[in-house]
């Protein structure tokens, strides 16, 4: 009982995710700035932003639906926090694991996008309604390649459990190379899930002010930004667990720094891709995802099916 409480609240639950989320935001912003030849924010900037937002007054528009407006950030936060319990962080087993938890984790990571849609729609402001519709449209474009590339990796490991996949890949280290295409595809789709350039269309600052989050301020905006940070950490952890599961046979003291390094590496890649491109238009983005990303993901699935029959277990 005490162990469950520790897991939920401290590690790898709320407290650890919150602190790591702040650190991940710092790393992302610092590298983004350095790529642009700027100094960037100091290390305490994300914490200062959070404290400032919490201390501000909450203004809810008159026409907005108050219950939905207030509930959505909480649901987004909850969904992303729960999904980390199924991803293996220290060693080959996650806190809870069962056959089929890959699907559960992917489903839980889709929930925040739905909450952004509902929160934006019920804000009843023109900008947030357009942003909300855009975030759902974007969901249909990047979800399929993301699901396919992660499931391709699960196919090769012949199990639907993330802990099982981690065990399989750490015992057969060479098989990591088979999933390179899937890694590239899911990295780009992670950009879409986290709504970062070139896929930050739902939150396009110069077109629709702030998209679904135009009317959010104060504590609720602090929760939304925290849920974005935690989603970034969880997404990076998922990618690290599926595609980069190295050295899981090492003792405990060495695994935790290794995990941190893997996640930070993925976040640096995300920051690099963020500074590289201009923002795509919605129709161009859907074209791109269905013309290039989905076929690549299908190719990865096909490749893994063939390899599963051919390679020794």
């Amino acid at each position: 009982m005490l162990k469950a409480l520790f897991n939920i609240l401290i590690f790898p639950g709320l407290f650890f995710l919150f602190v790591f989320g702040l650190f991940a935001e710092y790393v992302d912003r610092k590298f983004y700035a350095r790529f642009q030849n700027r100094i960037g924010p100091p290390w305490f900037q994300p914490l200062a932003d959070f404290i400032k937002l919490i201390s501000k007054e909450e203004i809810i528009p008159e026409e907005a639906d108050v219950t939905v407006f207030k509930l959505m950030p909480v649901i987004a936060l909850t969904a992303s926090c729960v999904s980390i319990l199924y991803i293996p962080i220290l060693g080959e087993r996650a806190i809870f694991s069962f056959n089929g938890d890959v699907i559960v984790v992917l489903y839980l990571l889709t929930i925040p996008t739905f909450t952004y849609f509902l929160g934006g729609w019920y804000s009843r402001s023109v900008y947030s309604m357009i942003g909300a519709v855009r975030s759902l449209t974007q969901l249909f474009a990047y979800e399929v390649p993301l699901f396919l590339s992660i499931l391709a990796s699960a196919l090769l490991a012949d199990t639907w459990s993330l802990s099982g996949m981690a065990t399989f890949y750490s015992h057969h280290l060479g098989y990591w190379f088979c999933n390179i295409i899937g890694f590239g595809v899911s990295l780009i789709c992670l950009l879409g899930k986290l709504e970062k350039v070139p896929f930050d269309i739902p939150e396009a600052e110069t077109e629709i002010v702030a998209g679904s989050f135009t009317e959010y301020n104060g504590r609720l905006l602090a929760f939304i930004r925290t849920s974005f940070n935690i989603e970034m950490v969880v997404g990076a952890t998922l990618l690290a667990a599926v595609f980069l599961p190295f050295g899981l046979n090492l003792p405990l003291a060495a695994i935790f720094p290794l995990y941190l390094i893997q996640v930070i590496f993925i976040i640096i890649l995300v920051a690099f891709l963020r500074s590289l491109f201009a923002r795509l238009r919605l129709d161009q983005m859907i074209n791109f995802c269905w013309k290039y990303l989905a076929p690549l993901a299908f190719l990865q699935v096909l490749l893994n099916l063939i390899l599963k029959a051919v390679l020794p277990r």
């Binding site: 590298f31 350095r34 790529f35 700027r38 590289l276």
Partner: protein, 125 residues
Amino acid sequence: MSRPGKIARLLIQSLFKKPATVNYPADCSGMPEGFRGKLKFNPSLCIGCKMCMRDCPSGAIEIRKIGEKQFEAEINLARCIYCGQCVDSCLKKALEITAEFELARLDPAQLKVILNAGNKDNPKG
């Protein structure tokens, strides 16, 4: 021939170069010489013709008589547009422009400054 991500090489190079932004106010190198900042006034040369007051576009400078052939200048730092027209209009070259530009104050009363020769400025009390 176009490809996405053409700017990648520049980004990686910038990672190892010194950043272009400076950490102000810890690192304040100031403005180049010849920059138009705060005015400096030499009362010994002023003859009280008030040409500067006539030509000032915003009415920022005021010349007052404080004694026999003695004048003082009071400038309103908020109104001054730092154009230097008074420097050009002065017949006796009693006004000079310096490069001091950090002139923001929290108290509006401190923005009306009485200029003397040298560096002693008395805010209007």
